[in-house]
Symmetry: C2
Subunit: 206 residues, 2 copies
C-alpha cells in the first residue's frame, strides 16, 4: 500500500523527492484539511489524496490521525497535553502555573516563532481560525471538562482568552508596557484572573 509513496521517495533517479519533502507535503495537506473540515471531518484518506500520496504512507510516517494532528500543529498539541496535566496536579495555584507555562512557550525563541505563526494565521485568515477553534472545542475542552467545576467549558475558554490576550499584547503587538514587563510580574498579575476563571465565583448564573 505504501508503495506509491515509497517509490516516489526512494527512487535515486530524476523525479526523486526526499522523505523530508514528502513529509512536508503531507503536513501541509493535513493543515489544509484540518482547517477546512475540522478535526472530526478530516480523514487520513482525504489528506493523502490532497498530498498525492498513499494513505499507508501517512500511517507509516505519522501513525494515527491524532499523531498527524499533533505533528501538523505541534504547539496546540503541546497545550492539549500540558493544560490537563497542569489542572490534574491540583486546582490550587493552577492559574499561576498555567500562565507561567503558557508564557514559557512564548519566551522560548523557537516555540515563539511557531506560536506567532499560528496566531497570525488563525486570526489573520478566517479558515485557519476554524482549525484553532476545532482544536479548542474538540481536543482541549473534553480533556479539561472533568477537571473543572461547572460551567467547565466557559471557565476553560475564559482562561484561554485571558492567556491569548496577554500573548497578543506582549508578543504579537509588542505593546511596550507588556513587552517590557518582568515575566513574574505578569504571572502574578494575570495568574489570579485565570484562577478565578478556573475555580472562582464568575458572578452570574450561567
Amino acid at each position: 500500500m505504501a508503495q506509491a509513496g515509497k517509490r516516489r521517495d526512494a527512487g535515486p533517479g530524476g523525479r526523486r523527492r526526499g522523505p523530508t519533502r514528502t513529509r512536508e507535503q503531507i503536513l501541509d495537506a493535513a493543515r489544509e484539511q484540518f482547517a477546512a473540515l475540522g478535526y472530526g471531518g478530516a480523514t487520513i484518506r482525504g489528506i493523502a489524496g490532497r498530498a498525492g500520496v498513499d494513505p499507508a504512507l501517512i500511517h507509516h510516517f505519522f501513525g494515527s490521525k491524532d499523531d498527524l494532528f499533533a505533528a501538523a500543529l505541534p504547539l496546540p498539541a503541546e497545550l492539549i497535553s500540558a493544560v490537563p496535566a497542569l489542572l490534574a496536579e491540583g486546582l490550587d495555584g493552577a492559574g499561576v502555573r498555567l500562565v507561567r507555562h503558557y508564557l514559557g512557550l512564548w519566551e522560548d525563541a523557537t516555540t515563539r516563532r511557531a506560536m506567532l505563526a499560528m496566531v497570525r494565521s488563525s486570526v489573520g485568515h478566517e479558515e485557519a481560525g476554524h482549525l484553532l477553534r476545532e482544536f479548542i472545542a474538540a481536543r482541549l475542552l473534553p480533556r479539561t471538562a472533568a477537571l473543572l467545576p461547572a460551567p467547565a467549558e466557559l471557565r476553560m475558554t475564559l482562561a484561554m482568552s485571558s492567556l491569548s490576550g496577554l500573548a497578543l499584547g506582549r508578543y504579537v503587538l509588542e505593546v511596550p508596557a507588556l513587552r517590557d514587563a518582568d515575566l513574574e510580574v505578569l504571572v502574578a498579575s494575570v495568574g489570579p484572573s485565570v484562577q478565578r476563571y478556573l475555580t472562582g465565583d464568575l458572578g452570574a448564573e450561567h
Copy 2:
C-alpha cells in the same frame, strides 16, 4: 491651495472623481502612512503626497492630523475617547463598565465588521500591528495614565489584553462556549478581572 483637489472633485467632465472617492484615497493613504511611520512619524504632507492630493485638501476634508487619524481608524478613535471617559466617571465599577462598553462595540453588526477587520489586519500582518501598538502607546495610554494608580500603563494594557482576548475568543475564533455565552455572563465574569487590573493588587512589585 485646495484647488488641485477641488478641481479633480468638481469637474463634471471625463476625468472627474467624486469627493467620496478622493476621501477614500486620502483615508487609504493615511492608514498606510500611520501603519508605516506611526502616528508621530506620519505627516499630512506625506499622506497628501501618497494620495496624490494637495495637503490643503486633507485639512479641508478632515481638519487636523488628529481628526484624520480618527477618520482613518474610527474604532480605535472611539476607544480613545470612550476609555478615558469611562475611567473619569470613577474607578468603582469601571471594570464592568469597560467590558460592557467594549463588548457592545463588537455586538453591533456594523462596528463588529470594522473591529474584525482591524484585528485581522493588525494581528495577521506585522505592519498593521505597528499601527495598533502606536494607537495604544501614543494615544490611549497618555490619556488614561493620570486616571489610574501606578503602574498605570501596565494596568491599562493588562485591561486591554483581557478585553482583546475575550473578543478574540468570542468574535474572531468564535469558540462556542464564548460565542454562545450571554453577554451579561461575560460582563460579570471578566469585569472583576479588568477591575483588578485597573485598581487592585497586582501581586508583585513592579
